[in-house]
Symmetry: C2
Subunit: 309 residues, 2 copies
């Protein structure tokens, strides 16, 4: 393994992986090395460009913290996240589609009772969200757990504000709820608004150099889990948003767009009263049942191969 050149180095690197701990790791790294090398050969990458790449990744690493995930932003803006979502969420057409996870989910958001206000007073127009969670045969999914999270009216998630003196970020405009026995849920929040992804770092500079804007159309994040069903990570998008066709992270799906209906000041869905106009949004989520062990998931696009026994 001496005198490697552009033609034989890829084979030499892969030969070093003969004793990899797992077959899958070896498979993934084989493809990664092949594509990484093919990229460098295709563009005849210069040494200066290579070094710029090293510096770019170093900057991405250094701006990344517990609450800012610039590598996820990078993956999102290069379309990798949406591609991985698409590859891993093949399911019957009737099911609610998945979209990108994004960098702003926080584990352990506070639990709310149905009807409560998850916004915790952040800036924004009042919005009453309701919906139901069903399975493929329209059966209600009782007590399904919903995690919701969103930006406030200034386009910021809670974790983007300076931390409190104890280093934490209060949970604002995010929460965990459980649907009722009929799979129905409702809560209060603020209207989701379009916002730019954080663009004061290396990914923002990359977008600028590529002549791209950093905006995402208004959306509310949902992660829904229930025993017997595939976890669903998705957004609901607001109809009419001007960025629906140029989402910086390529996440928009037509089936996830719905109306946020405006109502004049007056009585609100929770029986209260609003001094200002408010909004309502209603969405029906259809979960994909998990295949029962031993039973072939026949409704999936890519069914497992039948094995002779």
């Amino acid at each position: 393994m001496r005198n490697l050149d552009e033609d034989n180095i890829t084979r030499a690197v892969l030969a070093m992986h003969a004793r990899a701990q797992s077959v899958r790791l070896k498979q993934v790294m084989t493809s990664l090395v092949q594509h990484l090398h093919a990229f460098a050969r295709d563009v005849q990458l210069t040494e200066a460009e290579w070094f710029e790449g090293i510096q770019f990744l170093t900057n991405v690493g250094h701006i990344t913290t517990d609450v800012r995930q610039e590598f996820i932003l990078l993956s999102d803006t290069l379309g990798l996240s949406m591609l991985v979502t698409a590859l891993n969420n093949k399911k019957p057409r009737e099911c609610t589609e998945a979209t990108v996870f994004g960098p702003f989910h926080v584990e352990g958001s506070p639990h709310f009772e149905l009807g409560e206000d998850v916004s915790e007073g952040v800036l924004g127009e009042p919005c009453f969200v309701k919906g139901c969670i069903v399975g493929l045969d329209d059966e209600p999914v009782p007590r399904a757990e919903l995690q919701v999270w969103q930006a406030d009216a200034t386009g910021m998630y809670d974790v983007q504000y300076d931390a409190l003196p104890d280093g934490t970020h209060e949970h604002h405009a995010r929460g965990t709820l459980n649907a009722d026995e009929r799979g129905q849920f409702h809560f209060r929040t603020v209207r989701a608004e379009a916002y730019p992804i954080p663009h004061d770092g290396p990914v923002g500079r990359m977008l600028e150099a590529l002549g791209r804007h950093p905006w995402r159309p208004a959306h509310l994040h949902f992660m829904i889990t229930a025993p017997g069903y595939e976890r669903l990570i998705t957004h609901v998008f607001r109809e009419g948003d001007k960025y629906l066709d140029s989402d910086a992270v390529f996440g928009v799906r037509s089936s996830l767009i719905t109306k946020w209906i405006e109502h004049p000041a007056g009585e609100t869905p929770d029986g209260g009263h609003s001094e200002t106009a408010f909004y309502t949004m209603d969405f029906r989520f259809v979960l994909n049942p998990l295949a029962v062990q031993g039973e072939l998931p026949v409704r999936r696009k890519r069914a497992s191969a039948t094995r002779a026994t």
Copy 2:
């Protein structure tokens, strides 16, 4: 640009780069996105694997400091660095070959006079290095600048030791010298030894999972610059080292291997006396003349196309 799936997302991402600031950036990013997506499709990357990748890069970013460059280690161990070196250092066969830069070069190393000891007392067996720097027609390259750097007998570079109280690392076993008017140089140092690349971080864990060792064969780094010649970044390797055929960063070239000759205790090449055995090493560097403006670099492997005037 909605409802992107695994088949059309790559085209959609590339369409967003229509207004990129430079043609070259657009070209590089087009290939990068194509290969990144093809990788994910080829291996049908799972969401869990994607997240493991995000965490891996985050860890690489967080261990990287001014003096520890884990992204370069990653590039080196995946063979990307040697590939980029090979792509960018095509030159006549008579010229000294280039090899990887590595992560341990430091800008502004102290200047030494010919004959001085650059080791600054690090652990190791005494070694007297000499050589000459010539061009393709064997013409001496007067006053060529050499930067040299190496690990000590324990396999550590100075920057790998804890920093001094002022945050700096003293320069040890590295220095800058100028050849004399005849292109000749000599200095004292310690014998280069084989060493493992830093493997207490994410790249080390990657190598372990791939069943690879982290060792590099003994070598001394050189960066040689002189007006009128291409800069040469290379190593000289020590003949007989057991890692010459399994260098963790794929950098060995037969033409760069030479004997470190052992001598018994006694008179040293600088007229001094050694109480212990010592070593000598002698290497002739052949630089590639820069193409004179307007003149075609005919001796290069890939000559520019002749243009009709």
